[in-house]
Amino acid sequence: MHEIQVGYKENKADFTAIALKSSIEQDLRIKGIRSLRIIDVYRIESNLFPSQIQRIAKELLHDPVTQNYSIEKPFSFQFDWLIEVKFHDNVTDNVATAALEGIEDLIGRRFRDNEWVKTARHYLIEGKLSEHEIQRVCKDLLANELIEYYSYRKGHK
């Protein structure tokens, strides 16, 4: 499986992240977030050459003006907590479907039955939040457990 991560450049504003931070502060009344970063994660199950993966990241999945990408390894951002949210199996994932179509066009062949694309989102949080607070952010804001699954882990400095 291949993994491509896409995130905003340090000097570009990610308004989804800004709105999310204010939701955490104002709606959940959880303070202490120093920074919040959103990373889009694409997992591709298919035997592709490194050059193909490179093209998919560069030409299809990221916006070169505002975003950076990282292939087969996470970005090197620091964080205190990393939250991952993804769909349960069989829940329609439109972004993955669109990415799959784009990849097929790029590599010039259709995916077979055992090949697929799935998406996930990573939320990288810097700040002194307790595990309980992180759980609230997951349950009350980021993931709808009916259709989504979340997990989190502590960061390293």
Partner: protein
Amino acid sequence: MNQNVQEIKILDLKEKQLHELSNKMLLSLNKEEWKAIQEYYSKLKKNPTDVELETIAQTWSEHCKHKVFNAIINYVEVDGGGKKKKLLIDSLFNSFIKKSTLAIARKKSWLVSVFSDNAGIIEFNNSFDLAFKVETHNHPSALDPYGGAGTGIGGVIRDIIGAGLGAKPIANTDVFCFGLFDFDFKKLPPKILHPKRIAKGVRAGVRDYGNRMGIPTLNGAIIFDDRYLGNPLVYCGTLGIMPKGLGSKAARPGDQIIVVGGRTGRDGIHGVTFASTQLTESTPSTPVQIGNPIEEKKTMDVILQARDLKLYNCITDCGGGGFSSAIGEMSKELGCKVYLEKAPLKYKGLAPWEIWVSESQERMILSVPPENVQKTIELFNEENVEATVIGEFTANRKLELYYNNNLVCKLEMKFLHKGLPRRNMKALWHPASSREPKLKEQRTYDLTLKRILGMPNIASKESTIRQYDHEVQGCSILKPLAGAENDGPNDAAIIRPLFDSNEGVIVSNGINPLYGDLDAYWMAASAIDEALRNIIAVGGSIEKIALLDNFCWGSPENEFALGQLVRAVQACHDFSLIYETPFVSGKDSFYNEFIVGKKTISIPSTLLISAIGVMPEASKRISMDLKEEGSLIYIAGTTFNELGASHYFKLHGFIGKNVPKVNALKAKKLYESISKISSIGEKNSERLIRAMHDCSEGGLAVAAAEMAFAGMIGMEIELSRAPFEGAEKDKKNDALLFSESNSRFLIEVPEKFKQEFESLVQGNPFALIGRTLKQKKFIVKGLNGKEIVNSDLAELKSAWKETLKW
């Protein structure tokens, strides 16, 4: 029998076992319905397959057959003195709503298709018709606000694409009812999402679907009440336009059944039967659907091409109930054969019944004559939209479904569509027992006014409106917001759908569930009046207005709730008839209630009235913001002491008793006079009316303040001049300021047109009550001539804008 299909043993089951089976399979079938099914199958000497049982449950669902509106109802009304009045109602729909429309249809020639299609269709001009529909997507939005609301809007857009032989969507309208957004997180019951999270999710869902489809969202409303906590209401509406002559359609025997658009997955299995059940903590997740607006946009574009090439005889959308509902409805007078294995799937492993009832989004069904099949498929494939033949229409009045050459469902159309036993129900109504509170007269009402302006139902909805694209397609000519700083709330939106014509369509709505707590009859009357006067307020006329009803109620087994429904439906009949504004389509949604632990919370009985008005000259539009200093301010319409269920009482923790009523005969006369006046003059300098705003929630004070701070032009008014009817003791400053009496307007008229305006409005209750000012102040002189309000416009505006700034 095929291993993918199961026989469901029902013939020997007793009532209790059938009830358990219904719950287990999520069928929502009641005991009379089970009896009819058992009788049908005992004659056939066999048990149904799972596909057959699912088909029956889907077809007989409240969502699809409107059982409550077609029921026989024993209605008892108890008046204040305890006297009983009884009425036996043979179908609420036929006896009231349809009856009034049919009566109006004898006088108005512009009705094209009413109550029979996906949407109501009326004539726009000599070349085009309009299709209008508002749907609800309440339960899915409670579970997944973003996906639920998105697929709500996606669904109603497909209703329009599938109206007649296909209309092009040109505007959306969205109305939401949410729990209180500042609800304490700690008190939130398990599995209920916080109201603010629901509100933000729903808003984002509507935004992303509507904007990505390229359809402007022009009109709406948001209501907050604690009883919507576990069951928000999400009303999604779409207006479409189509060339004349495409209003009717019918599939023919031999036509091929082609599914176009999205693929079928497990999304939304049991959505319609689920809609007829209460939400509980253990409600399953399969009814959640995820929408894909880009897929729908592509599908829509090709369908409109196929329509113009006349490739198909009939079209309908796959909404609630999926293939079962869409193909079942199209073939009910014919019969059909469907080969379920041919349907394109998102993934493997779906059982035949799942394919048949799945509510996967973005799918439409076409009925295509054999000679056009190849061309149709090529056309869709060219645009990268899947189109697949999955069966054909027959003439044997049987529904026959096959899976890999095995017959998995065979049902008589007659039984399926006519075999449903009618419900017998009881309804009871009595007046509310609440009393009018005695509130102390205040020396000034500045603070009260600011607090009322900040109440969530009245406060600015700008933060929501601005997320919606209301410019796309380039036809909106009166926008949701107007004024000096582009933030004043217009009463309705106007679009001019044809670039070479000045004709316009006005979209408005009326909703006030609080009135229903006192009397659902006057709630319905007020909602109709509000929708109509919003159209009048922006320069429209009452000549050509079509209405949609949209009832969201709790459990109809609750006799009082059903009594409220009877009252509301009676008002719909009475007032649409007097105003001569027919209902052309509608929707009902029951069981909007939520069980937490052992307590059942029902939503307030809520009726949304949506209206479209055809406007011969859209350039005669009027916005609500004051335009210049030195103008005269008139009030048209009578104020009564009708503070019952008003925001003023709510602010003080009361509900009161005197619910606003409607005198439709007087109102109609006023509306006719006003629209005549609005049509005078071409250039702005020739127009008699420079600004107009209706008085609704918050009454005269809120309407006047909104006009002033929208235009950032001051205003001074004197309450003693306003026409008031009622006992002298009821004539009080607070009643004049905040009473929510219907059928009233505030109107800005340039001084030079004083005589002309007054002579034209003569014969209606009206009065010159004030002027616009140079200073940016809102000043009200009370009944004794002393100032009771003197506030800075900027302060009033910020009180109004602060509450929902998220």
